[in-house]
């Protein structure tokens, strides 16, 4: 007997499942405790439950239709981009997903997968799942919990699936279009989701925050965190979890995965330090802050995401410095302008995910190094798969392609988010009533993050009267 079919490589399969698990840990507990620690004490429970329910909702959507919408056979909706914008919905329930994984439009453009469809589906699920959890940071502290339960599956179906298909499922933005421009020789490059995930989350979170409306004015004025050590735990899980996020995206446990992991960590460390230096030398208080450092860390992780296995390690360093500086300015200067004051993006997701994802995506068009090999050729008629940016003498048109894909994601996700919330808003209140917002977790869940047993008068409907101790014989 043989445990493996011919096409399955246990090393690749083991790494892919491990990488997927690392990415899953970024959501639960990573995002749950990072956001749970950063929000006000009265919103910690609500925030964590939305993270756990969001993760679960996306998994159900994913096996029923989401995976195939994102990575299946293209659905022909019309000419041009409409011919490869989304896959045909199909469930993957049943046992037929033990066969070799395949992304139909990429078959032949990359080596054949050496693991099963279940592995690919689960790996891609954890990316789909973290995206709504990221934009949760924009709407916490006022979104109606029931609206969250309805919005997440719909958004995942209509926005995420399109993003993923266009860039990763071999869709229109992943394709070369020499008929439009002779310089359009490769598709838009998004290694692990600078656009599909982070630009999408930043855009959708901002629009959702605008449509749902702000938190209580008092809460916005006093939005102090309740537990920084808990936030540290979540942030650390995010950082190291990102080894799976970027290290898993080549789909093979090879040299490109190793480079992606090293690049990811360097860009992140550098971005964290850059933010801390900006805080020391340019912030109003001229002091380094822990939560500033965490913002820098997230910025680095996000900005290297579209680039991790396309740039060399020097490129990763550049991305860390540039993205962290841009997002620091966006956070501290743009964030104080009228529009950003008007829209209550509670945790500033538009900056750390939207701006950082966009910056990283554009920098790929500059810094992608043709010496970095994604997939090896055979030394004869099949050449190595590589990508090249402007810095390496490649046509600057790649930057325009990167920009075009970014605009597509921004416009589509903003539209879907706006339309879905407006429709849901016809049937229920998007924002909790003020009297519930005043109490927070106790009002929504009958739970609080740090209950005090000294003031509980007793368990309702049950008595556990203390019995006198039995005399001990002897």
């Amino acid at each position: 007997m043989n445990p493996y079919p011919d096409w399955l490589n246990p090393g690749d399969n083991a790494w892919q499942l491990m990488a997927a698990t690392l990415v899953g840990l970024m959501s639960v507990p990573g995002i749950a405790v990072l956001y749970g620690g950063i929000v006000q004490k009265k919103w910690a429970v609500n925030t964590m439950l939305m993270a756990f329910t969001g993760f679960s909702l996306v998994l159900v959507v994913w096996v029923l239709w989401g995976f195939k919408l994102s990575f299946g056979e293209p659905m022909k909706l019309g000419p041009g981009i409409l011919s490869s914008v989304i896959g045909k919905p199909r469930s993957i329930l049943g046992t037929d997903n033990t066969h070799q994984a395949v992304i139909p439009l990429l078959d032949g453009a990359m080596p054949k997968f050496r693991f099963s469809e279940s592995t690919l589906a689960y790996f891609q699920f954890v990316f789909a799942a973290i995206t709504p959890l990221l934009f949760l940071g924009s709407v916490i502290g006022r979104i109606n919990f029931k609206v969250w339960l309805i919005f997440v599956p719909l958004w995942s179906t209509l926005a995420y699936s399109v993003n993923a298909f266009l860039l990763w499922g071999g869709g229109w933005w992943a394709q070369a279009h020499p008929s439009i421009s002779s310089a359009w020789t490769t598709g838009a490059l998004d290694y692990s989701g600078g656009y599909v995930i982070h630009l999408a989350a930043g855009t959708s979170g901002f629009v959702a925050a605008a449509v749902i409306g702000p938190r209580l004015a008092r809460d916005r004025d006093r939005a102090v965190p309740n537990n920084l050590p808990l936030a540290a735990v979540g942030a650390g899980i995010l950082w190291l979890g990102w080894n799976g996020f970027n290290g898993g995206d080549p789909y093979f446990a090879g040299a490109n995965a190793s480079l992606a992991v090293l690049n990811t960590n360097l860009a992140t460390g550098v971005a964290l330090l850059t933010w801390v230096l900006w805080d020391i030398f340019a912030s109003r208080q001229r002091k380094p802050t822990f939560l500033g450092g965490i913002n820098g860390m997230i910025t680095g992780l996000v900005a290297i995401t579209p680039a991790a296995g396309f740039v060399n390690t020097f490129g990763a360093l550049i991305i860390g410095v540039v993205a962290s500086s841009l997002v620091w300015m966006s956070w501290n200067w743009l964030g104080r302008t009228r529009l950003f004051n008007k829209v209550d993006d509670a945790l500033g997701v538009i900056h750390t995910h939207g701006v950082a994802g966009l910056a990283g995506g554009l920098l790929v068009g500059v810094l992608a190094d043709p010496h970095v090999v994604e997939y090896l050729g055979n030394g004869a008629d099949v050449s190595d798969v590589t990508s090249a940016g402007w810095l390496w003498g490649h046509h600057p048109f790649q930057i325009l392609i990167q920009l075009g894909a970014a605009l597509n994601i921004i416009v589509w996700d903003a539209f879907i988010t706006f339309a879905l919330l407006k429709i849901i808003g016809l049937f229920m209140k998007l924002r909790l009533p003020d009297e519930v917002l005043e109490v927070g977790d106790i009002g929504v869940h009958d739970e609080e993050a740090y209950p005090d047993d000294a003031i509980v008068s007793g368990r309702v409907g049950a008595t556990f009267a203390d019995k006198p101790a039995e005399p001990v014989e002897g």
């Binding site: 106790i442 009958d446 739970e447 609080e448 209950p451 005090d452 007793g458 368990r459 309702v460």
Partner: protein, 112 residues
């Protein structure tokens, strides 16, 4: 001298602070307390078990003032803490026998 003690809704503390300051009294003590009056408590549910919580988080403000400041400060607190809902709290005034500033040893109204 009088000690003014106010038990108010926690979210009104910043307003109370501003109002007392504007009434000409610069300095007060704030503490987080829990208690109950006419406002009912609430239930919390953990792992399916329901618990009655009768003590509600409140803010306590203590401020010592000269006698002729009492009316103005009490009025300021009442104005700032009033929402009209059950649970707004109470204010009471008690006489103060003596007062000493720890740093200088000054006594009475000099220590205010």
């Amino acid at each position: 001298m009088k000690l003014i003690t106010a038990i108010v809704q926690p979210h009104t503390v910043a307003n109370v602070h501003t109002a007392v300051d504007q009434a000409g009294v610069h300095g007060l003590t704030f503490s987080e307390v829990k208690g109950y009056g006419r406002q009912k408590g609430h239930t919390e549910v953990y792992r399916g078990a329901e618990y009655q919580v009768d003590f509600i988080p409140k803010a306590r403000i203590d401020v010592v003032v000269e006698d002729d400041h009492v009316d103005a400060v009490v009025a300021a607190i009442l104005g700032a803490a009033h929402t009209g809902k059950i649970g707004d709290g109470k204010v009471w005034v008690t006489p103060v026998e003596s007062l000493i500033r720890v740093r200088t040893g000054e006594r009475g109204t000099d220590a205010l």
